[in-house]
Amino acid sequence: MIDAVAHSCGHLTSLLATAPTAMDEGSLRVALLASAVLFAVGMIGFLTRRNMILMFLCTELMFQAAAIAMIAFGRMHLDPQGQVFVIFILTVAAAEAALALGLVVLLYRRKPTLDAEAWSELKEC
């Protein structure tokens, strides 16, 4: 246990200037499991929350999960493309946050509630 922590910490301090090595199988599995769980929880949150702002926050959670999976697979293939893709995810998340929050403010001005059910007539069924 102590050995394992020391191993991880040593890995953290020697991040710079080491030759690329193959990834620990354990850390890959743990990261992928975390990403799968975060994505599922984010989707459940999107479906169950009624607050419009929190629904968008749950989409950000799903973006996080996708980013973790990207980084993990990029690390596994030792290719910076995974990290580059995360930059684009961040870009889209920032754009989405700006637009979504603008929309929420606009809707909030029409009906003074954040409940998404207030706009359920938009689905027309």
Partner: protein
């Protein structure tokens, strides 16, 4: 790990989340927390047990993963939006820790700066703006009652079971032991240094100066090969041919001069995805326009004001008389 254990753990997680999510009494929520935490802990131990015996247990990874999952669950179930946003900060910090452990330090810090620093603050602003206007202190009813929790949990945990199936079970899961990828990455990494001539010049000058002692004023030129690359490999070690005052020398580049993670990401971004970079800029610009257009306040003009705005003279001299006001 067998598929059955994965499905059972997903089911237990769904039940636990259901008990946390409903506006139950405190005791029921506690039971839900225990069941959910047990399900996650069981999944984690199953994942770790499927490793080889001599494999190192990734303790810090497990800590960050569990912290992120706990923060996510609390964010999804918390009845107060501000607290949900703050719990999301915990998810961001934990995933930044995971990034750091996976040699992605640039992305880890930019994640904290962009997400926790910028996006989350925007969310908090809007949440507080909306809450202050309603004047309801604390929890609104629509924040406490989940919508269709059973259906959502079924969908979510079927998704989790199938993703887990694909990632962790099929053919024994994903195997990161790829010697050919490691070998390719070791040489590919030096291509980044090759693409940055100024830094390569500086590195080689320092190496030559260290070899010669103090008199490093001799002009040196790096000799490039036919394909324009300066670095060639001798037994896998990076070598550079350099012309020092007419004398040809070969310098071995040490490991410490390797490009850092930030340089590798930047190189990949600029050299391999230049169009995507431009498109990302356009997306941000369009989002800015869109936000401005959406947030602009609609101004109701009366008929006369519209005439004035169009450059005509107003019809009414006396502003107090209002025959048929446009804004009425």
């Amino acid at each position: 790990m067998t598929p059955t254990t994965l499905y059972l753990a997903s089911l237990a997680g769904a039940v636990g989340l259901f008990l946390i999510m409903r506006p139950h009494r405190r005791g029921t929520r506690l039971v839900g927390t225990i069941v959910g935490a047990g399900a996650i802990a069981f999944l984690m131990t199953q994942v770790l047990r499927s490793l080889a015996d001599d494999a190192m247990v990734p303790v810090l990874e497990v800590v960050f993963a569990l912290g992120g999952i706990a923060g996510a669950v609390r964010m999804v179930t918390h009845p107060r939006p501000v607290f949900a946003a703050i719990w999301f900060v915990m998810v961001v910090v934990c995933s930044a820790g995971l990034f750091l452990l996976m040699d992605a330090e640039f992305m880890a810090f930019s994640l904290i700066i962009v997400y926790a620093g910028a996006i989350l603050i925007t969310y908090l602003f809007v949440i507080m703006l909306a809450q202050e206007a309603t004047g309801t202190a604390g929890e609104a009813l629509y924040d406490r009652l989940p919508r269709e929790p059973v259906a959502a949990l079924v969908v979510g945990f079927v998704l989790l079971a199938s993703i887990g199936d694909a990632l962790l079970l099929v053919d024994g899961g994903v195997d990161p032991n790829r010697p050919e990828a490691v070998a390719a990455a070791r040489t590919d990494r030096w291509r980044v240094l090759d693409g940055m001539p100024a830094q390569l010049d500086r590195t080689v000058a320092e190496l030559v100066a260290a070899d010669d002692g103090a008199d490093s004023e001799a002009p040196l030129t790096i000799i490039r090969g036919d394909d324009g690359s300066a670095i060639r490999f001798l037994d896998g070690r990076p070598m550079v041919d350099v012309d020092v005052a007419g004398e040809r020398r070969t310098v071995e580049i040490p490991e410490s001069a390797a490009p850092t993670n930030t340089q590798a990401v930047g190189w990949s971004l600029v050299a391999r995805f230049p169009v995507s970079l431009e498109v990302a800029g356009v997306i941000l610009l369009m989002a800015m326009f869109g936000a401005v257009v959406l947030a602009r306040r609609q101004i109701d003009l009366s008929e006369d004001e519209r005439r004035v705005a169009a450059g005509l003279s107003p019809l009414l001299e006396d502003e107090d008389t209002d025959f048929a006001g446009g804004a009425a």
